[in-house]
Amino acid sequence: MSQHGTDVLTLDNVESVYGESVLALQGVSLTVPRGSIVALLGANGAGKSTTLKAISNLLGVSRGRVIRGDISWAGKSILGLDPARVVRQGIVQVLEGRHCFAHLTVEENLASGGFLRRPGRRELRRDADRIYDWFPRLKQKRHTRAGLLSGGEQQMVAIGRALMAKPILMLLDEPSMGLAPMIVEEIFDIIQQLNRDEGVTFLLAEQNANLVLHYADHGFVLENGRVVTSGAAETLRQSQDFMAYYFGDGGQAAIPA
């Protein structure tokens, strides 16, 4: 989709390991243009989450690190930057498995996402109200502990919490995981609207290629920590090879029109 402006995020030959030996990424290169929705596809263990965590510098918790390559954001390297700094630069991640603060209420979860901007009390409330506009069903549950919500609602809380940081780029790790198709569609529609109306750029990790390529502009396919295919979403969807490879027998799964 060439009408988009310059690339904001660039990964250049990123290699990363867990512990001393497990090589999870073996030279991942990709670019995310400003204003686009980019899909990061791949089977279990392909390296999608590792790629996203490398960008956010969140690998340390699982004893992982980037050993080679570079990650740059708007032309500057962000490799090794403190995770909070990365967020402050406008990159927020919604982790795989949602990771809401289970003991905190929905409202507290959302508020926590805004803290780093140091907004005033009233501004924080206004920002939270905007999130409720996007996700109306969260509004009735604002005083419920997030741990008690359904999976879909938790995903909305996690996305809403990240939106509170007013990100330029949102990294979403398997937002459809374990959710009913209806909810998945609802969430992806909102992602699309956020992209169109608010100009939020998305890098979406998904196993469900069919689904995500319907919304994405561009896709990268990972296998064993390497990018094996990439291209416009339309092209990938129509590529027999790709679908056959991806779905085993000829890409039988229906693609919503």
Partner: protein, 293 residues
Amino acid sequence: MLFLVNIIVAGLLAGLMYALVAIGFVLIYKASGVFNFAQGAMVLLSALTFVTLNEHGLPFWLCFIITVGVLIVASVLIEFLVLRPLVNRSPDTLFMATLGLSFVIEGLAQLVLGTDVHQLDLGIPDVPLKLYGLQVSDFDLFTAAVSILLVAVLALLFGKTRVGISLRAVADNTLAAQSIGIRLPHIWRIVWSVAGVVALIAGLLWGNRQGVQFSLSLVVLKAMPVLIIGGFSSIPGAIVGGLIVGATENLADIYIGPLVHGAVSDWFAYILATAFLLIRPNGLFGEKPIQRV
């Protein structure tokens, strides 16, 4: 009957002091999943600093403020020199580090401030009064009031403020907290400082009763059974645990002591705690272990 009530009340009041020490542990455990063995050393350090300043003629309020300043500096140093280099290590490693830290703090405190036993007089009479037949002193009542106030302030701090929400977020899910830009080092410094102030209050109350000396750091051994009973991650648990330990300890001294010809209060709490470990490993109020990914 009144005799029994008096024993229990005295025990409960002692238990409040245990609870104060235990609360300091809970705060740090919640924020970083570490059992901070150095909390006892913090109690000693804070009381020793306070009493030394006071002996040099400074008024109470000034001693308090300077000591709080010392504790904040100590927290910043601990975060930078101990916690930061060990980030992402196992809780066992961190526990060992706090064990070492407690020796360092105790050593430094005694090196700089001396090993003498200091008298600390907060100026509140500790003479039992008869109140409807109950034996309580002004100091007992003061301790109770301070404990209640402290818990109320902590509840407000952690319930309503941004720092409080951030702290609970970190306690709940460290990785998610990082993913939205909460700075762990910042939270740790704050929590250690708050735990330091709690240690100071505990140190002053304990020191007033038994003098400020090395043995003050051994209150950590009293806090242990309190935490096992109440649960490591709950402030209400620390209080209830403290009260249970204080009361049963006193009762045991009176009713079991004569049978074994000696004081049982030193170890009875551990028997109780062991029983709890078998029946209710998370303690009365403990949350299930905090999930960390």
